[in-house]
């Protein structure tokens, strides 16, 4: 049993912070014991709600029923018709409560891997925006080690007025969440700079001008991102100390 296994209780009670949660969900995808234990502990935790049951105001029932009448239930999860790749799908042993994102992330990685073999065929393509920043003579960078959660480097070129973030082994954002990037301006405001993909190793050009920014932050936001950060940053790259 790994140390991760000790986190089943805290996970079942939603007591992990976003990064820990993302990490643990990756572990869950691989650990059947933990999945079973989490399912049981969640059931157990739900019983605690019995002790605080309180009838809601009658108006809530009306709001809920009015709300659902305007939304269709999601399409069910349908097993793929034919096992095209024959490796992953085993509906009979479908895991309880496991984030679909892990599978989605894996699919994405496979897809990306397959795609990159192509571009080399042609002549050398013009540099991408990311390459221009990374190769800029005035490029300056800040590296952050996020421990088990991975590593990330922000590179900024004032001449290009752009910044790029490069991640290595970064854990996926938790289920239902996205990593959002931010520029911190000299007056300490946080300006949205785009969402990161669900990919452990990626290079992303931040949206917006970078020359004036004093820092770059990453926060965990609800899917689709937010206009301003709703959680403290999981990483803050101080560009005033960039080298």
């Amino acid at each position: 049993m790994s140390d991760m296994h000790q986190l089943t209780g805290a996970y079942a009670l939603d007591a992990l912070d976003e990064l820990e949660r993302a990490r643990f969900e990756q572990h869950l995808a691989e650990c059947e014991d933990c999945r079973a234990e989490v399912a049981e502990l969640r059931e157990t935790a739900a019983l605690l709600a019995d002790t605080v049951a309180t009838p809601p105001p009658a108006s809530l029932r009306d709001s809920v029923l009015a709300g659902i009448s305007q939304v269709r239930p999601l399409a069910p999860e349908v097993p793929p018709a034919t096992p095209a790749t024959a490796t992953t799908v085993q509906p009979a042993t479908r895991r309880p409560w496991v984030p679909l994102l892990v599978a989605a992330a894996l699919a994405l990685i496979v897809g990306v891997g397959a795609a990159v073999t192509q571009p080399w065929a042609d002549d050398v393509p013009p540099p991408t925006a990311a390459e221009r920043v990374l190769r800029a003579p005035d490029a300056e960078e800040v590296f952050l080690d996020l421990g088990d959660a991975g590593r990330a480097t922000v590179v900024r070129s004032k001449a290009e007025n752009r910044a790029v973030i490069v991640t290595e082994d970064m854990v996926s954002a938790p289920e239902g969440k996205d990593y959002e990037l931010w520029f911190q301006t000299p007056d300490e405001a946080m300006v949205p700079a785009g969402l990161m993909k669900d990919d452990p190793d990626q290079t992303v050009v931040l949206d917006g001008p970078a020359a004036e920014a004093i820092a770059v932050g990453i926060t965990v936001e609800p899917d689709g991102g937010s206009r301003e950060p709703t959680t403290p940053p999981i990483a803050l790259f101080d560009l005033t100390e960039a080298t």
Binding site: L16, T51, S69, T231
Partner: protein, 204 residues
Amino acid sequence: MTDVDHVRPVPDGAPEGVPSGGTASTLSDLLHRAGLGDEQAFAEFYDATSARAYGLALRVVRNPAHAEEVTQEAYLDAWRSSTRYDPRRGSAAGWLLTIVHRKAVDRIRSVEAAIARDETWNRETDPVEQDQTSEAAHASLEAARVRGAVATLTDVQRQAVELTYFGGYTHTEVATLLDVPLGTAKTRIRDGLIRLRDLMGVSS
């Protein structure tokens, strides 16, 4: 290891499990019918679970208006994802309350992110005193059974479980609040829950 098929606690008074009489449906039946677009079935599901859902949300977020919003969002999510609910993975009530709890915790954490952290620490940290919402709690046999089980936890286990589940604190925050190492907080939370699980017969 046990199979989640066996994880089927009987919720209080709710008609889960064997239908009583000819009219009552199980919660998972109701949810299944909701997935087919049956709003009446979902209304019945709401009636059978809303006291627990709202009570839990209220206990975590404390503000009644916020608790209503959280509860409404959770039911809307439950309606939308009713097609994805699989009774083999756990009870319908447990599934719903997991959604409610997650939303309640997200709510307080995002509210707090907007407030200076230092101020937040100053709010009351004693979970036991807040437990008196039980005045309104329905005095069902199941609730009494759960309270009985909770009472057998050691004080430190109960404190850790209540601070996380009802207080909505992370385990790191709980460790700080209780002034114990993180590993200790982790263990208390897990051991406390496992003891409750065994006492309540949630595992096979």
